[in-house]
Subunit: 291 residues, 2 copies
Amino acid sequence: MKKALAIDVGGTKIYNTIVDERGEIISEIEKYPTPKTYVEIISIFKEIISKYEKEVDVIAFSTCGSVSNTNDKILGSTGNIASEYPQTDFKSLSTKPVFVENDANCAAWAEHIIGASKGMPYSVMLTLGTGVGGGIILDNKLYKGKSGAAGEMHFKMSRDKHRKCTCGSWDCFEAYASGTGLKKTAEEISGNLEITTYDVIDGIKNNNKQMIEIFNRWQEDLLNGIIGLADIFDPDVVVLSGSMAQFVDTDYLTEKVNEEIVTQPTKVVKASAGNYSGMIGAALLALGVGV
Amino acid sequence: MKKALAIDVGGTKIYNTIVDERGEIISEIEKYPTPKTYVEIISIFKEIISKYEKEVDVIAFSTCGSVSNTNDKILGSTGNIASEYPQTDFKSLSTKPVFVENDANCAAWAEHIIGASKGMPYSVMLTLGTGVGGGIILDNKLYKGKSGAAGEMHFKMSRDKHRKCTCGSWDCFEAYASGTGLKKTAEEISGNLEITTYDVIDGIKNNNKQMIEIFNRWQEDLLNGIIGLADIFDPDVVVLSGSMAQFVDTDYLTEKVNEEIVTQPTKVVKASAGNYSGMIGAALLALGVGV
């Protein structure tokens, strides 16, 4: 059975493991804090690759940032990681083939092959974490657009410049439906700038009225974004993953989305391929596993 | 050379002509007011088809409403046309093959084959008329979604229920970027409920400050929608058609969109396949003309 060395590169952590062509993790998950400098990042890549490359057929990176349609380089900037990182020459890191894909796209592919959107040709996946990632599967293929950068969830939620987004623009879906967005909504409703997402989640558990109001406002923004995507894509399913997805009421969202869309009924579900779906998806894509 | 009898069905007019496989209109354009009743609509279809079906290889309908992936039936309701219209059994109307597609999709295909998005694999077309139609071409193929209904431009422009859309929901892109949206924006800014889109357009020509403000607010809403679509699709081009497109400053929109998107540069252009692009696109699709 073919195997990939999967490496997940995020702003705070780098993970690696070995994944087989069934999408099963077959070695221990290793974890490093993402170093501040580019030189140290490359040095970790080299250490991981030299340790495992003999055991695998391909090296599969799941990374922050948009990735080219040739799956070998990063397009544009990547936010919370060393500014030289997009210049990484991935192909030169190993004598084995090296494959690179955006982490949200990888996670969407893992869901499509072994998870919540398995058997469904059309899906949109939203990764609700510190930011919001997007992965789009159309007709059983990962949708990448003209350059590879498609699936950015920065459509606007407001006509008036109300809330700044990390991308530099205003009122993007990411600025509302992310964990950062929940904190911001909590600040706006409570007037307390020290409030955290944990306070909101704790408050819900303790039946705190204001915390429930805050969460519901956040979920309503998420709902509004999903309605737009469902009307644009007419998907079989919208999959929610990431740290915030666990708190969402997908039955409520499915009902409300179907009340509002003008396309045909869809459903909203939680991801099921697990916490390491980025690495699994990268491995499956790198190994050419599709439907 | 193969030919199609093209029939365009809208809420107010029914057009027909003959189009060849180069996308050229080769007979007179005929026009009927769309009758109120379903029986009269079918009777016009039969009249047109019996007159021309012997001359052509296929009958190609460009119609209001979403059309199934099998290109033979209408999904859901269609707004301003007899309520039974979606039940039309198109295949039974002729002994020749009958092909049906949504009018915005047809127009997008015409632009893709002979118009403004020719040679570009990824495009989003917005038809800015009384409403807003959407047609999406991805990897040189018309994108239809799981059921055929994709490309509905009802994503939300506001978090607060501010403006009702004809679809029954609130604050859809269509409710802002359409001609109806311009009138509504004009009403809100001027306080005059009798104001028309013509007043705004006339006012701009006469350098009227308030009319310019109204138009710019409308164009800003259009811009915001295009930014979201460009981030989602990473398209080569966004094409604007319909009666409102002529007033838009596409150079300005291209510049602003590229300032704000996090994907790779795109451009905004006006459609160039002409007023009958719906019939041309239907004919090209029905005749199997692609890239």
